[in-house]
Amino acid sequence: MTNPLPDSVDYVLLDEASIQRRVMEMAAEISADYEGIHNEDFLLVGVLKGSFIFLADLARRLTVPHRVDFIALSSYADKAEATGAVRLIMDTRADVAGRHLLIVEDILDTGYTLRYLYRLFEAREPASLRTAVLLSKPDRHKVDVSLHYLGFSIPDVWVVGYGLDFADRFRTLPYIAALKPRVYEG
């Protein structure tokens, strides 16, 4: 089933096949790196809402046993852009101490969210802490954070689909598209 591009979409940046191929490559790389680790000791933490599609596809391609957990964050309405202040809405259910933790994120933009997650989890003394991020916008980075597994580096355009939204819209498109500037410029 192929649906027409929504009006607000300018062009497809990454089509479904390219995303799936890259996710499979990332899963192979991660599986090789975490080979031999017991199920209980390898924890994927998906950051809601944006990462659920990436997580669902990535996890299904992993050949090593692991557990899945979720964390929900929210930015403060004011000044969030400037300070990167993040509010924790739901913590992980699993205790991360002594476990190999892989944070699964849809996009690395300013880096504030990932930096927050690093600080949060490092304080809990995991056995290791890495990140798998589907998209990175190097032009937007404001803080340095380590990235271990990256899907695609993309230019600074507003992208939607495959978990990413604009005001909760377009989140479940199977591809990643650039929005028409008029949509987000109001």
Binding site: E40, G46, K49, L55, A56, D57, T63, V68, F70, M90
Partner: protein
């Protein structure tokens, strides 16, 4: 250690699940249009794989939201009362809501969620579940769209776990009985 050593057999293959999901999405596509702007509510953790595949086939505007719940432990299964660990980010009053579940078993949890949501006065409330085990039902709950009716077996995969394992298996499998007997302390 193989990831699949505890699996007795495949109950529903990956191809069958994916084909059925297209049909389920078409049922939803017939029920909703852009103006309805329904909220699809995923009940974590189990339903996230189903949600990810289902929503990619929808052709009407929609939003997704998440809810994570936990039981209080022994003694509460008959009432279905659960603790809400993550509530909806959106206000569903006056909205069309679709609850997305991986499996309906006794129905207690779903019944509790339905009561909790009804109290918030949504404009409409439907339930779609990938799996249904009618033989286990202890309370009558309305389920609008069902992917597969399955017998009373210990299933895992496609979001469903056994003791937090196997959620990422891309098909629905049946666990070897000795595995969960061991887990329950039955020899």
């Amino acid at each position: 250690m193989s990831m699949f050593q505890d699996i007795e057999r495949v109950l529903i293959s990956e191809a069958k699940i994916q084909a059925r999901i297209v049909e389920l999405a078409d049922e939803l596509n017939a029920l909703y249009d852009d103006a309805d702007l329904p909220v699809l509510v995923c009940i974590l953790k189990g339903a996230f794989v189903f949600l990810a595949d289902l929503t990619r086939h929808l052709d009407f505007r929609h939003e997704v939201d998440f809810m994570e719940i936990s039981s209080y432990g022994a003694g509460t299964t008959s009432t279905g009362v659960v603790r809400i660990l993550l509530d909806l980010a959106s206000n569903i009053e006056g909205r069309q809501v679709v609850i997305v579940e991986d499996i309906v078993d006794t129905g207690h949890t779903l019944d509790y969620i339905l009561r909790s949501f009804t109290a918030r006065n949504p404009a409409g409330l439907r339930v779609v579940t990938l799996l249904d085990k009618p033989s286990r039902r202890a309370i009558d709950v309305p389920v609008d769209i069902v992917g597969f009716e399955i017998p009373n077996e210990f299933v895992m995969g496609y979001g469903l776990d056994y003791s937090e394992q196997y959620r990422n298996v891309p098909y629905i499998g049946v666990l070897k009985p000795e595995v969960y007997r061991e887990g329950l302390g039955i020899s």
